[in-house]
Symmetry: C2
């Protein structure tokens, strides 16, 4: 296992331990909602968004503990979005990460509520952190996350994705979906982490910009891997885009050109990390890993 | 029209004007989500939660403008909860306030996303307000609202309501549902308003306590009116609880005893307003109106 993998695994272990702490405790009534929320929150995953938030906080000289509530909130928001995306009325997926989707286990009503519950919980955790220490740092981080997740961020990406389902997409619409559905939350994670770590507005904007580039490159690579890799390598069904007649970067531009676009975005993000200096080495390695996997 | 009605109508007009301001603007892509969000947000309604928040803020000497973002956020959270409650997987209602429910007009996928969008938008508005002026007041109001809406508030009330659907309820479970599903947000509105207006912790807790009593009394009265009033008087189908074989205060205790319980809670809330003094006259009149209607 190389150094990056070791560091990622350490982050993942740390984040999963803290996610437990920030999950609501079951009280007197039906445990089902808490089970449903935990089922999807603890279903594996690379914990990229909280990892990036915490790494960005450290990269500018902050303490990771300051970022924790916001990092955990981000993962809860990400998980809520997956639960709702999988619903029968949306993508109607039966499996995610090799396990039954939330609504297949807990029913559609509880899955909707489990998603809602995770979003509520994220809001509660961040509100608590802001109240505990009301400052431009805490409220700025919450603002970055709220905007990244919201109606001009992740949510509108999902709306447009659902809206154009089964229809061919123009390149600008596909780019809009990737920028919002995937990249907005990665952008928010890096920006929020930098703000919490005490970065100036200009530096925080550099983190945000790197995040947007990483997010889009990551999604393009995902489109490519859907075509080029085997199910064993990817750990999920391949050729799903083709089966769903989905417009992707690959169907629009072909594999080679798509790889070029992703590489260019990745290199631009790496330039930003280089300019920002030593503190960003982990983020630079992570960027390489996320946007240039060739398996 | 009596004085209270006039004042309520003035509040409603003011709140509806401001809700427009705080709604996200449509940008380049499909207007459907913005239409779906607006469809339910501007479907009438008494705007009780934002009205109470703003009135509480003024009652302790605050300016209503300080409460506005939080008041509008509360109404958006309330509306999101109605959209999701009406979904086929939940209560499966076709009509609300005499109009088709959100999913009957925009489809189930867009209704889920419109609900999500309103909750996201509430979070964005409150985060912006807190960032603009990070203080114990703003973050405390956001915290009160986040907790009132969340997994130990409104949401758990809905979960328990869904969980026990079609089963007979014990009195303590019915009380739990009313306290959480209905009263938690009224409690939060009054507490958040008082905090924003500059109340001490003790006074803010008095507002919260009054809110809980009003919320439960209001819900019990709703159960009673479902049995005693005509459809013309109520403006919605009556006897719906009986048709749905729903356990209510009326099925558990009968009409007379239910009215006694509601009256006692209402009187306790009114005592709190009396103790808090002159500033709370509107809230006192509103409490009478909401918990003692006899038609």
């Amino acid at each position: 296992m190389n150094d990056l993998n070791k560091q990622m695994n350490q982050w993942i272990a740390y984040i999963e331990e803290k996610l437990e702490v920030f999950m609501p405790k079951q009280e007197q009534f039906p445990p089902v909602i808490f089970e449903a929320m935990a089922y999807s929150l603890f279903a594996g995953g690379k914990r990229l968004r909280p990892m990036m938030l915490l790494a960005a906080c450290e990269a500018v000289g902050g303490e990771k503990e300051e970022g924790l509530p916001f990092a955990c909130a981000m993962e809860m928001i990400h998980t809520y979005s997956l639960i709702h995306d999988d619903l029968p009325a949306m993508d109607n997926d039966d499996y995610r990460r090799g396990r039954l989707t939330n609504h297949k286990v807990f029913g559609e009503d509880m899955a909707i509520l489990a998603g809602d519950g995770l979003l509520h919980n994220a809001m509660e955790i961040m509100a608590d952190a802001c109240y505990h220490n009301p400052s431009k740092k805490t409220t700025g981080a919450m603002q970055a996350i709220a905007h990244g997740a919201g109606i001009h961020g992740m949510l509108i990406g999902q709306v447009v994705d659902v809206f154009y389902e089964g229809k061919p997409l123009e390149a600008n619409i596909l780019e809009f979906i990737h920028i919002n559905k995937t990249a907005a939350m990665i952008r928010a994670a890096l920006k929020a982490g930098a703000i919490l770590g005490g970065a100036t507005d200009t530096v925080a904007e550099s983190f945000a910009l790197a995040g947007e580039k990483i997010g889009v490159a990551f999604q393009i690579l995902d489109d490519i891997l859907d075509v080029t890799s085997t199910m064993e390598e990817l750990g999920k069904p391949i050729h799903s885009d083709e089966r769903n007649e989905k417009t992707t970067y690959v169907t629009l531009y072909g594999i080679e050109k798509s790889r070029e676009i992703a590489c260019k975005l990745s290199d631009e993000a790496i330039s930003i990390w280089n300019e920002l200096g030593e503190g960003c080495i982990f983020l630079k390695d992570l960027t390489e890993y996320l946007t240039k996997r060739t398996y």
